[in-house]
Symmetry: none
Subunit: 209 residues, 4 copies
DNA sequence: TTCTAAGCGAGACGGTACGTCGCGTCTTTTG
DNA sequence: CAAAAGACGCGACGTACCGTCTCGCTTAGAA
């Protein structure tokens, strides 16, 4: 997190193991208890750490859960399945699989809800989770362009705007399907969704005119 | 909410005014404090009501907030703007406007988060909010079919599946844009989104094959 | 404590039993743990009461312990043993016996120590303990005067000053003997002390000039 | 504190200045904060010393405060004022003056309170403070005997017993007057007290019969 | 009308978690 | 090797809400 500060400080250094133990304990507690019944005291106990240690490193429940959940999404990758449609389907399915895990479900929506009243928290979510995964959209487009499936995007502003729209549509739809409609984002659903998205984006007239 | 038991019970009847006052106080508190700092004791005080009165009618914070927020979405309507695209843009803008209000933002995501671990709550959300607004999709389709913009849908199962997909895509994208990306779902964005959605849904091959 | 306020307030009344249980639990904890290891949480648990109930009635550990200890000294009485010397010896022995009990030892000195920085606490101690027991000095003098052992005191100011001096000398000596010198204030010691005190007070020239 | 091992140990020797700085900081903190709000971390900071240094030399708050307070009483001396009564009055006034200082008030009673449950602490208090000042009683008696005001005491046991009684009476009365009754032990009070004490001790029949 | 059962305000209650503070110990780097 | 710096496990603090429980007092339909 802090990068090039090699200033070896005096005093006992913070235990590196504690961070990992705390984040793992947080995910475990999210699975067992869910966001609202998760307590920092319990997390500390599970991690074999004192409450003060936890508070020394995170400002509160929200920040802790953001970090605990963010790691989950780093598993996402974009395997080359040969076509843009297949690539999208693949990554959407992965995303749905993660969102199906209880530690993600319970934690993610809660911190988003909290972030509506806490700008710093929203920034943290954006930095740790959202922007971090936008790479998938960019990779996907680059690959499709290389394959000749998409024309090279000339205007960088349009490119950004489109990438943002795609991300909002993909993430939003999967989240809504999974958490609000509470129905599985399975292969069939993903195929239907991807078809609409892809046709909408590539058909003539979609963004032209 | 109340079933059709017209059996007038004995004893003092519940005050009808109290319900309205409590829900209004809840929205007010959501605006000022947000979900997590909202307390039932405070709501009761704002409503000029005893805590017991509140608990006699709602099981807890979650149920209360669902009811308080649900009313906000009943304002949505589908004015006839002459074309399917315009109709969709109109309703999406309305939806975005509601989601921009702090009492909706803060409350809605929080109860959705809670609902990931509480089936009864999820059902209440679905009944009070989600399914209640699916009418807009159906109305829109009916109107577009009448105008000849869409072919009549023969298979009812496909119709339902498509309507669900549309709802997930619309609601999901607007929520994600507004709350996660935290950028305005303004006219420009809505136009771009609607174009992708509509082209995706109506282009040949989108759902055919 | 509150006297003529018969104003029957609204709401659930405070449990009278809780007060007694808390004070008894406090004395029990003083015996087992002593002042410095006594915690209000533990007292609440022993009393079968929530911590909040305790804090609703007492401002803190100091106030609670003053009340718990004050009751101990109400047992003191001045039995008629036939002479002023015997009366004094009797009450001093009783006082020493109480001070020998661990709940008194540990609690009393601690609150006195605290009271050096807290005027309200000092007043509470004076009202609940010190002034309350000055009755013994007055009773003793009245009885001795009736017996003819002491001349009637004419000047009320001198009477007060002398009573205060006696109280400081008696209480101070017993406390110092018991707690600081940590040797028993037994019959022999009490006899010696009383003799000095009484001779000092009654010999001609002692207060005469 | 340090025994007489002149054997210069290996390694860096303990800073002698640190001891003095810590005790001074302790007294300063007692004045500003009082016993109960005094923390060892704060004392260490005031003394410009690490907490570890402090713990290397004292076992805890109690021991530290005993040492810090003990030094205050070493100022006491018995100036020759010409008569036993005047000598006593002089030293009692000095004692009252010290007890009036906040660092003594707050600290002394607190460690006495603690000592009711800690034998080692009581011994430390006795050795550092009480027995150390008994010299004043002995000096006073010796001087009075030399002057012919008192007969030489033949029985050493009686002498000890009497000296202890005097000490308990003097120290006890002054402490009680100052801390519990919270009224000044001024010249007038001291004169009255001394008269009672001295008459009680020297009148025929006081210890005779 | 009076009776009576429920609703209502107030607020005390037993709990649970909070976030902070001080303790006394430990692990670092520096002198 | 001591000292400073400061992280650490621990346990108590006093507070805030929770949801429940008395209280005394309406209120309005049933008797």
């Amino acid at each position: 997190m802090q990068s090039s500060t090699p200033a070896a400080r005096t005093g006992r250094p913070r235990s590196a193991a504690a961070d990992a133990a705390i984040l793992a304990a947080t995910r475990e507690a999210l699975v067992e208890l869910g966001w609202s019944k998760l307590t920092l005291g319990d997390v500390a106990t599970r991690a074999g750490v004192a409450k003060t240690t936890l508070y020394r490193r995170w400002a509160g429940k929200n920040e802790l859960v953001v970090d605990a959940v963010a790691a989950l999404f780093d598993e996402l990758e974009l395997p080359d399945r040969g076509s843009l449609a297949a690539d999208i389907e693949g990554v959407v399915l992965q995303f749905a699989a993660i969102l199906g895990r209880p530690e993600a479900k319970s934690g993610l929506m809660a911190v988003v809800a909290e972030s509506t009243r806490d700008d710093a928290l929203r920034e943290r979510i954006r930095a740790s989770i959202v922007d971090r995964q936008k790479r998938l959209v960019l990779e996907g487009r680059a690959r499709a362009t290389a394959r000749g499936e998409l024309p090279p995007e000339s205007d960088p502003e349009t490119a950004t705007r489109t990438a943002d729209l795609i991300f909002d549509m993909v993430a939003g739809a999967v989240v809504h399907r999974t958490l609000v409609s509470a129905r599985p984002a399975d292969e069939e659903w993903v195929r239907g969704f991807t078809r609409v998205l892809l046709v909408g984006l590539t058909s003539p007239g979609a963004y032209g005119d």
